[in-house]
Amino acid sequence: MIRLQRSMLKGLTGSDVTVQSVCSALQSAVELEHATIPLYLYALYSLDEAKNAAIAGIIESVVVEEMLHMTLASNVMNALGGSPVIDQPGFIPTYPGPLPGGVESELKVNLAPFSMDQLAAFLQIEEPENPLVFNLMVTAETPITIGQFYTAISDSIAVLGNGAFVNPPRNQVGPDLMRESVVVTDVATAQQAIQIIIDQGEGTSTSPKEQTGGRYAHYYRYMQIQKHQRLVPNPNGHSPETDYTYSGAAVPFDPTGVYAVPTNPALPPGYSSGTQQAFANNNFNYSYTNLLQALHLMFNGQNTRAEFNRAIGLMMSLKGQAKAMMSGIPNAAVLAGPSFEYQPVNPGV
């Protein structure tokens, strides 16, 4: 399980709770949810789907929900009168590095092609908290889990009360645009939104399934890759631990179906300027920055179908570009992975 710095709870407990402090935590939440997306996309697009379709499908399904989580956190923030900041260089984490708010000594994440080691890092990110451990960890010095972080936000929202929420709904990206999203207008809908984030990431304490959508929580979805089999209900189960087993259809991993792209491509020396890799990477990063700018608009008042479609178009463009770069298009001798860096100007070759 990934652990966050205790300072992430600042302003979320006791008399410290203010709208501003909760919005600050929600901004961190938006950044944290986003931070996993480049990791998962890099692994996803490094896979040759002809050889690793099942794994690719699992990772893609998680990425889509991370985008939903970004949306939900933004909706809560907007409902409290805050304004998510997305189109800034500092919004993107540096790879390798800790996740935003993470304890540096615990998990440094790498932008890396798919491997079982990288999967282990994903599992660590998504691992649910152990209630027993949880009891030990709420001492003053110890870090917190992502689940605890969201629970603290949820609790702090209750402290703020319905009076803190903007009505009519403000800058909400609702289910008309993003399936399973929640329009946040009060404590109840805010807590509903946050609970979806917790459930989809970690599941509940009694089931590997998220309550929304009925899919497995991210951790269990990824475990299927590690166990090489689908998680399926066990008709003979008699407890939460035995109600499901990794005994379904195969989830095979073919190591020859991973493109040989570099790990952490932004690390010096990076791609030499004037190379095909640098050219493709610049184009990708420019599109990626454009997406952050489009999302910033969408989460700051331009919550229209047209803006949403522009963001979708950029996501499709990024997918096409990343798959080309990683699979050696146009030059089979030249592979590259996108570095996911903020780049508001495309320098060309």
Partner: protein, 630 residues
Amino acid sequence: MSYLNALRLHFAGQFQANVSTVNNDPAHYDNAQFKASYQTLQGANMRPPNGWFNPQGDGTFKLLGCQVMSAWTAQGMVSASDAVLGCIVADADERVCGKMADLDPEQQLVSEIWGLQMRIANAQGDTLLQGEFEPAAFIDIWDRATGSSGGDTIAGATYQSVLQNLVWGDISASPFLIALQAAATDGLLSIKFNVDGMNLDFTSPDFMCGRVVGTIGPATASEPVHLLIGRQFMAAPGPNPNFFVPLGGLNFFPAVVDTAGGLIYLDLGNAISTNVPGGVMNNLGDLTLNVYDPIMTPGNPAGSLDPIGTIPATGPGGYSSDPTWYGRTAGVVVLPVSAQLLSLIAARPLIMTGGPNIEISEWSSGVFVRADTFVYRLSPDQSTTIPVYAMQWGQPLQGAAISFVLDPSQLQPTPNSWPYVGTGPAVAAPTTAISFNASGVTDSKGVAALSLSTTDPGWPRLFASGDYGIDGQVYGIRASFTNGVEYTGPVNQWNFISVLLWSGFAPPNPVTWTEVGPILQQYANLYPVMSRFLDLGDYDSVVAHAGILTLAFSLDVHDPNSMPVTRDLSPAKRAAILSFLANPVPGKAQAKPEPTHAPAAAGHAVVGRSPLPQGGKAAAAARRLILQHP
């Protein structure tokens, strides 16, 4: 007003036109004969037949590293402190980039740019001005690089259009942009850019990139969008062209006279050749602009050339000696004209002369005629009016009779010979499906109306093995002065109207996979990029992606995300696809490409042989009907 005006900026940089090339061969539209190997990158000399030089192209058009190089007002060059001088010219920063589309596989010489948003931004990328580029096709393609042999890489061509839906940012640090905003009273800017030096080497970081150099100025709604009302210098054809070789060494170019200011603005941006593709201008000698005085005297039986001004080739700032000249000026040259010469040039032809054999002039009558927009896509039973502009001595020409005739000579049906995998269908038939007035007379704005109406052409471009073949039919229509005796001179072969007329399409209700499968399979065959997203030829894959496909097929065709990127889908077929996606009724399975046994990434050029791609435009130009049946 237009880009060729006192108030203007010049920019230069690179573009990428990442077109897909599987559709370069019209026979690749035959689903039944399609082979998976047609999606692979070409090997040496295109044997065996394959996907040409960029089968994985995604159709994007990007502006890369473009900088504002200079800016001008009526008072001259703007001061160094004007913020516009540090600006970039970029494409969209909050949506995807523009797209390139050919009209048709049998008319590939009017490639259009769609969905392009252009911005002037500071060095950090913050937008000072944003506008939507009205889709435009290139024209005046020619063999610009004279020191290289063949292929698309030697080509130069030009785009003219307008930027609309202007959004101005904080321009307070740029007196130039403040002046431009004040001049753009109709919310329009005029833009013209020249492209050359396209790189087709897939091992180069510049692959599918070239040089772009252009000019932006104000526009008004009363002007044509893609055409200057100005003086038109007309080149006669020279020998052995790939695309077009001007006999007098200078390609077609326009000029505008500012009578009040005593100036003439010449746009030589696509007129001066280079040695290497995208290189510095060749030295064609000092270029002198003259007005021809036809008055014959005993001592001067041919009349005389009165020089107006000279553009030096060499020395400081010479167009050939100074490597920064082209970027700084975009080829725009302003010459002062004395009062005496101004009155002379008002009704006499201009001639530019240079070194040995370098010469280009207006027609002796000073007239010119061209359609503003010259690329059209039409459905059966549709009518449209095409404005055709006539001008004389740079002014609208009223009362001129204009003739309109079918002219398929520049269309490009395919012979059954290498590198094509089969015979392409005949073009421009049936002629009965397209009707228009044989002539018109220009109004006070110099505009003659070409009234075009269509009927269903049927299925003239089916292949023997069935399916839908290539949709509809392409036609060419040429406008010319009816009075060909008085109004005569070199004709620009590219100056004609291209029309894609779609076939009627009335599928049963509900629409099933049997009807839409062949359409989508053809896209899957021709655009391997789609396989990064789904298998368009597979019912289950299409149904699994119905949501995103419905979105993409529903978008306005001007939206850069509109599917298909190629803008070649008829409204009737689009409606059928959307109907199917809403209720995907299964049907007959589609003919699948014959599989290749080579791995997907192994179709690349044979190592050790340098790629010598001819290119798609050069191949299309080489199979024009006029060359097949001269």
